[in-house]
């Protein structure tokens, strides 16, 4: 059962996120997939450093204690926040599109936008 670790699961989650982005047409679900994709990278980062015998990097002063590498954990904090920022901002933009096109279907929105732009171009000519 060695192969069930955070790294493999993280990669699987990454692919699930990618598939969501490629197959689902609903923009909100797409964004959730994007969030999953970024989260999975964080899971990989944390799990690569996981030791069964180590403890969390809070120094207790006990000798011979093995600690988990603290650097990835510190890095990951930044990555999670960035992930949140990306999701919040893109959600707002999706909401703007929803207000205007009354749908969350990405294909439909892309079509409408294409159509409107072509109308605009025709108007200029």
């Amino acid at each position: 059962m060695e192969w069930i670790n955070g790294v493999t699961i993280g990669v699987v989650l990454f692919v699930i996120g990618l598939l969501t982005l490629m197959l689902r047409r609903d923009l909100i679900v797409k964004l959730l997939g994007l969030g999953l994709l970024n989260t999975s990278v964080i899971l990989v980062l944390i799990s690569l450093g996981y030791y069964t015998r180590g403890v969390a990097p809070i120094i207790t002063g006990k000798p011979e204690q093995i600690y988990i590498d603290p650097l990835p954990q510190a890095l990951v904090l930044s990555a999670i926040v960035i992930n949140l920022a990306i999701l919040a901002l893109s959600l707002v933009f999706v909401m703007i599109l929803m207000e205007r096109y009354h749908t969350t279907d990405s294909v439909k929105i892309a079509q409408q936008i294409e159509y409107e732009r072509s109308q605009e171009q025709a108007h200029i000519r």
């Binding site: 192969w3 790294v7 493999t8 990669v11 699987v12 990454f14 692919v15 990618l18 598939l19 490629m22 197959l23 690569l48 450093g49 969390a56 990097p57 809070i58 120094i59 207790t60 600690y67 590498d69 603290p70 650097l71 990835p72 954990q73 510190a74 890095l75 904090l77 930044s78 926040v81 960035i82 949140l84 920022a85 990306i86 919040a88 901002l89 707002v92 933009f93 909401m95 703007i96 207000e99 294909v107 079509q111």
Partner: protein, 242 residues
């Protein structure tokens, strides 16, 4: 986008491509071993260098503070962006209703009133002891920000929004943001390089120790609290009610 046929072709290709990606990455990750002793310097010198017992906090707010400044900037940007764009969506929004929807039931009201102080206490604890135990400015602030939502559910968005209105939020956000930037600019005045701690380290393990890490935790906590609340309030207003 005619036909379903082209769509199914796209989907098939998508699945194949994703599977190839999965196989390639899993295959090559199975060869990856670990290099023992990565990050040992931090464990060895961390407490001595920074005075913080929680080494993650030590890296986050001292060794690699520059990254954290970026993170704060990203977060600030998200708040600014959300507020800027959501305010503009459909300029005329009906004012929030005075009588909130949920709090008509007393249970919700009482539960919200009881839970909110508990959440506030926990998050304050997280913020203040960030250099000693897990936690820190970000998680505490975010928890506090969402905790306000409890109050908003219990008392209605309008009532909470009145005391934490746009002007107050604007002011507080500026104060915390400028405070964080200014604190990182201060060290040269004390003869230290930029972004290097200039406060005394104190004795590791005590509440007032590890230089400016608690100070930063407080500032970040405040910033994140205000930011999260500002975003939630924008969403609430956009939606009409809690």
């Amino acid at each position: 986008m005619i036909a379903g046929k082209r769509l199914t072709a796209q989907k098939t290709i998508a699945v194949i491509v994703a599977l190839v990606f999965l196989l390639v990455v899993l295959f090559s990750f199975s060869f990856i071993g670990k290099r023992p002793g990565a990050g040992e310097e931090f464990i060895r010198q961390g407490v001595e260098d920074t005075g913080a017992v929680n080494i993650v906090a030590a890296i986050y707010l001292n060794y690699r503070l520059f990254d954290t400044i970026f993170e704060i900037l990203v977060f600030a940007l998200a708040v600014i962006g959300v507020r800027f764009h959501l305010h503009a969506v459909k300029g005329k929004r009906p004012a929030l209703k005075e009588t909130p929807f949920l709090s008509e039931s007393n249970v919700v009201r009482v539960a919200g009133d009881l839970l909110a102080p508990v959440v506030a206490l926990i998050s304050l604890f997280l913020i203040v002891t960030g250099h000693l135990t897990p936690g820190g400015g970000f998680s505490g602030g975010a928890l506090l920000g969402t905790g306000i939502l409890l109050l908003a559910v219990a008392r209605g968005g309008e009532q909470v929004g009145r005391s934490l209105n746009d002007n107050v939020v604007d002011r507080l956000e500026q104060i915390f943001f400028v405070g964080i930037i200014a604190l990182s600019l201060l060290p040269p005045l004390f003869g230290r390089p930029l972004l290097a701690n200039f406060l005394p380290l104190g004795e590791p393990g005590h509440l007032l120790s590890s230089g400016w890490i608690p100070l930063y935790n407080l500032l970040i906590g405040g910033k994140v609290f205000i930011g999260i609340w500002a975003m939630i309030y924008c969403f609430i207003r956009h939606r009409g009610d809690v």
